[in-house]
């Protein structure tokens, strides 16, 4: 059995998580409903209940660097079923926000936000699909940011004001992620 040393805990951590959106964290009474209903938990050793406990205890080093918080599919099953309205999905997203600021975001998640910043869309338009669109009488590019560059400028204003580029380490000169 693993011994948890609370002297290594950060007692301010739960408040930080609340500030980033995990408002009801303290209501968790460890029933385990979330873990038993989670589609990811059946596939590998990922336990929502354990993340809630470690977070509430301030064991941030056992939460922030872990891959676990990036494995949630945000299916919201635990959110709907938690008897205490902890809204575990919100706690996990709050943990992602903090973990990202410490540089732990997986590459793929940085990529999605880099795409939205560059293109206004999560995925790029592809030549092959553009041809297929034209073949069925649709414009090669949809009437979205994909054909309205000014819409992308607007998204970039939001990104700049909110400091997202710094969090995901997006380089404006190269218009791509660093590293």
């Amino acid at each position: 059995m693993e011994v948890i040393e609370l002297k290594n805990a950060d007692s301010d951590f739960p408040d930080l998580v609340k500030k980033f959106g995990g408002l009801n964290l303290s209501a968790c009474y460890q029933c385990g409903t979330c873990s038993s209903d989670c589609p990811v938990s059946t596939e590998f050793f990922y336990r929502v209940r354990r993340i809630m406990r470690r977070t509430a205890l301030g064991l941030k080093d056992k939460v922030l660097p872990e891959k676990d918080i990036w494995c949630c599919t945000t299916c919201f099953t635990c959110f709907d079923r938690c008897p205490q309205e902890v809204n575990p999905t919100d706690v996990i997203v709050a943990l992602r926000r903090i973990s990202a600021r410490e540089g732990y975001t997986p590459q793929a998640s940085r990529n999605t936000s880099a795409n939205i910043t560059k293109l206004g869309h999560a995925v790029p338009s592809l030549e092959d699909i553009e041809k297929k669109r034209e073949g069925i009488g649709l414009p090669a590019r949809p009437p979205t940011a994909a054909s309205h560059p000014e819409a992308i400028d607007e998204i970039q204003k939001i990104v700049k004001k909110r400091g997202i580029a710094e969090i995901i380490r997006f380089n404006w000169d190269k218009m791509e992620l660093e590293e």
Binding site: W70, C75, F76, T112
Partner: protein, 300 residues
């Protein structure tokens, strides 16, 4: 005629334009007018985009999208679970929280936009049930798909969190089942029926193997039950099933369960050409499409 601002999102128009076209063609004939939202962007993804980094940025991008519909004076129709989840979450939060709304509008003022909070956000499944009606679909299909076994997939964000979506019982929804049964088909019951497709939250790209192992459980059961096809209402879930089955095939496991967006099958039943509405696929659909097209009306 009822009209909506048609919110496209990303995966629909940029990966499966045949789905987009099937929706445009069927709804026009069913009396639902769709107006384009010029300059709309990513919603921006409920678990994979800006929301992971900054709540206000995510809310502002959603509010910007919604403001385009407000300018048209219309409610929004989405056809993706993720888009529905993002936009409805932002809309309801901002409608009930004037302080957040002010902060969002401060950012939008920079681009001469304003979010008012006057539009509703509806997913296509709601429009199909409430504006078109299950009876209308039943008349069109005239029992043609009797004997077809269909596995339906709603997509998490169409129904959850219930507090936001308030659409159908997320534990035992009926809306899509009713629409599929209106074709004359049987909607299969199985334990993984309402399980997540495994693609959301960034997991699709963050850990492909884990994501696929969630999806696979559903396929195993559909196969066991002799399912003829899987019918979804989200282009991202659709990509997970369509592309994901190909990836599982490459690892030596072949399910070959044809995957359709709801309106693709409907379009075929309404007489639209397959080459217009259902021609982009990684998991073959030729045989089942042939079978669908060879069915005859058995009741009116």
């Amino acid at each position: 005629m009822i009209s909506y601002a048609f919110y496209l999102g990303c995966v629909g128009p940029l990966r499966y334009p045949d789905i987009e076209n099937s929706i445009r063609l069927t709804l026009a004939e069913l009396g639902v007018e769709l107006l384009d939202m010029e300059g709309a962007t990513c919603c921006p993804a409920p678990g994979a985009g800006f929301k992971n980094f900054d709540e206000l940025a995510a809310l502002t991008v959603s509010a910007r999208n919604i403001s385009i519909a407000e300018e048209l004076g219309l409610d929004v129709m989405t056809f993706c679970g993720g888009c529905q989840g993002s936009l409805n979450w932002a809309n309801k939060l901002l409608q009930s929280d004037p302080e957040r709304k002010d902060r969002v509008n401060e950012l939008l003022a920079d681009m001469d936009r304003e979010y008012k909070g006057t539009a509703k956000i509806k997913h296509l499944v709601e429009v199909m049930n409430e504006d078109v009606g299950v009876d209308h679909i039943r008349e069109i299909a005239a029992g043609r798909l009797e004997g077809f076994k269909v596995a339906v997939h709603y997509g998490c964000h169409v129904l959850r969190p219930y507090k936001v979506e308030e659409l159908d019982d997320p534990e035992m929804p009926r809306m899509l089942d009713d629409l599929v049964e209106a074709w004359g088909a049987e909607s299969l019951e199985f334990t993984e029926k309402h399980t997540c497709c495994g693609a959301g939250g960034g997991l699709f790209a963050n850990d492909r193997d884990l994501s696929l192992s969630i999806m696979r459980k559903k396929m195993v059961q559909i196969k066991e039950l002799g399912g003829d096809m899987l019918v979804d209402i989200c282009p991202f879930c659709h990509m997970q099933f369509d592309l994901g089955q190909m990836q599982l095939r490459e690892k030596g496991e072949d399910f070959s369960i044809p995957v359709f967006y709801y309106n693709q099958v409907l379009a075929l039943l309404m007489g639209f050409d397959r080459d217009q509405v259902a021609f982009i696929e990684n998991t073959p659909r030729d045989k089942i499409i042939e079978r669908i097209l060879s069915t005859k009306m058995i009741e009116v």
